[in-house]
């Protein structure tokens, strides 16, 4: 946990510096404005467009240094903790659940929501939850049918269907 506290503070510190750099960016359409010209008060216009995000990012950077000092002085609970950041269970959980979510997202781009939803539910319930095929299948199909009728039919919000699009044309003919 202690190592993770420092690494996270460093990453967030770098992020803060990036945000400061990005906040000072001048608009592309006016080359006469130099970087960081927009982070102060502009005559007759008040604070520039970068004023608010720049100084907030600066405060974020200072906070990261503060977190680093607390880490060095061992005053925050994570900096005192001898526990591991993510134990074996946590790593496995992140891999199978977090990885499953990213997989779900990728499958949405290929098979659309209605292909990805049943696959994800069966993966989660059958593979992770060790539920029966009957229960997993029922919930997977039920959830997909509910989403289709709720979004596509009732709300007319067409969810992406990827390569499965042609399969839905007959359903639209029937229900719309």
């Amino acid at each position: 946990m202690r190592k993770a506290e420092l690494v996270t503070a460093i990453i967030l510190g770098i992020l803060s510096l990036c945000l400061m750099w990005k906040s000072g960016e001048a608009p592309a359409w006016d080359p006469s404005i130099a970087r960081f010209d927009n982070i102060g008060l502009i005559e007759g216009e008040g604070p520039g467009s970068g004023f608010w995000p720049f100084w907030l990012s600066f405060i974020m950077f200072i906070c990261c240094i503060w977190i680093g000092i607390n880490w060095y002085r061992r005053t925050s609970p994570p900096s005192q903790s001898e526990e591991v950041f993510l134990d074996g269970y946590g790593q496995r959980m992140l891999f199978v659940v977090g990885g499953g979510l990213i997989g779900f997202l990728i499958v949405i781009y290929i098979l659309g929501f209605y292909g990805a939803i049943p696959l994800f539910i069966i993966y989660y319930m059958r593979y992770l939850g060790r539920h029966s095929w009957k229960l997993s299948g029922t919930i997977a199909v039920g959830m997909t049918v509910f989403c289709f009728f709720f979004f596509d039919i009732a709300m007319r919000i067409v969810l992406p269907k990827g390569y499965l699009e042609p399969l839905f044309i007959p359903l639209y003919d029937i229900f719309l």
Partner: protein
Amino acid sequence: MDVFISLLDGIMVALEPMNLGLAVLGVVVGLFVGAMPGLGSVNGVAILLPFTFVIQSFTGGATSPMIFLAAIYYGAMYGGAISSITLGIPGASTAVSTTFDGRPMALSGRAHIALVAAALASFAGGTISNIMFTGFAPILASVALSFGDPEVFALMLMAFATFIGLGGDDIPKTIFSICIGLVLATVGFDIVSGEPRLIFFDITGFSHGIRFLVLAIGVYGIGEMLWTINTNRYGSSMTQVDVSARNIIDAIKEFRHAKRGTLIGSFLGFFVGILPAAGATPGALMAYGVAKLTSKDQSSFGKGNINGIAAPEAANNSASTGAMLPMMTLGIPGSPTTAVLLAGMVIWGLQPGPLLFTNQPDFVWPLIGSFYISNVIAVLVNLAFIPVFLWMLRMPFTILAPMIFVLSLVGTYAAYLDMFDVSLMVLVGIAAFFLRILDYPVAPAVLAIVLGPIAEPKLRQSLLFSDGDFSIFFTRPIAGPITVIALILILLPLIKFIKNKFITKKAEQP
């Protein structure tokens, strides 16, 4: 008298079949999310916010969707006690202190008394806070009508300062959390100059800004769920509860011993709930502490004292109504859940703040009326369906979790029809999970994302008005004291630190 007539009119609108049905549905959903360990009102409200667009498309206004979400909020406050008592695991953080006496009561075979006491105390807390809300809200809104840009910015500064001074979390992490929320709210085009800001890698998805729903669902639908799966790994055993009609009647009779705790919780909870950084969880903990401190029988607390259940349960309900007060009258949410509700109001085309009472009475009073109705529905549903909720609590998380993940992804897409938002939401959720492990508080960031787009223009307008002179926040009669209080709250941890150092040094001296 005007208030009373407006309230009656509001109650009549809230009793219309559509609104009443939504209140019942909201309360049931709320009771369920409140009872499920790892889920709370904010998860329920954030995940279901995109679905309220359907309600709005049917009813045409913002009143019915808001009644639905407010009913979820109400129900969740009731539901938290069910798992605290029967499983020994708080259904939500707001019900942590209910566990202290609720669990010992359940283990000693008095679970039915604990469940009924929790429901009745919640009802009393809800009713008392609703009356106070109805009395205070119009007055506060009329005072707030005179607020200009510096006053509104000073109020927002105070909201953030309360998190720093009174939040109780790690100070630099809290400030970081507030600032990152405010910075993320600036992504997109600057509304004053029209210049693009923080559009990373020129990805077009950022040009419309990072939407609040993406962050809220990411944090509460994905991040919190991953956190729950990681922490609730060992499971739990449920206490058997005999909820026969006779037992329920006996338990209602027993509730007369919980009057003191209920009153303490109801009044304390309301005022703690108004403070932005406080809300229902500290409100409930404080009410428990005060009930114990003022009791003649302090030793029985923690062993199954009925006042130890009544005080926190009345307080968390009362605080949830209290948190609505600054949201509705000043446009400043008092808790993460009210932050989501506020964002919902903006999405539905309303402008939260003092003008809401003047310009949108057709929205405000039915909503306030629905608080009363939802409170009655919640106590009835809670008492009548205790066995159903106990049955639902046995549902394995491996069935509930994938459904929540699916609803989070589908809901995010349905809100804006943008797959970029869905991808960003998943990434935000995973990042929130890591930050949560390292004690970075997420509530201030959520509040900051909502308030950021309001706070920045107010600051810029104020400074434009004063020619860049920051003294405008100190010299005006209302903004001045608020800014000073905010600065004191920001400096409070430093004062405490110096005081502690001084005391330690003094103690070390021979």
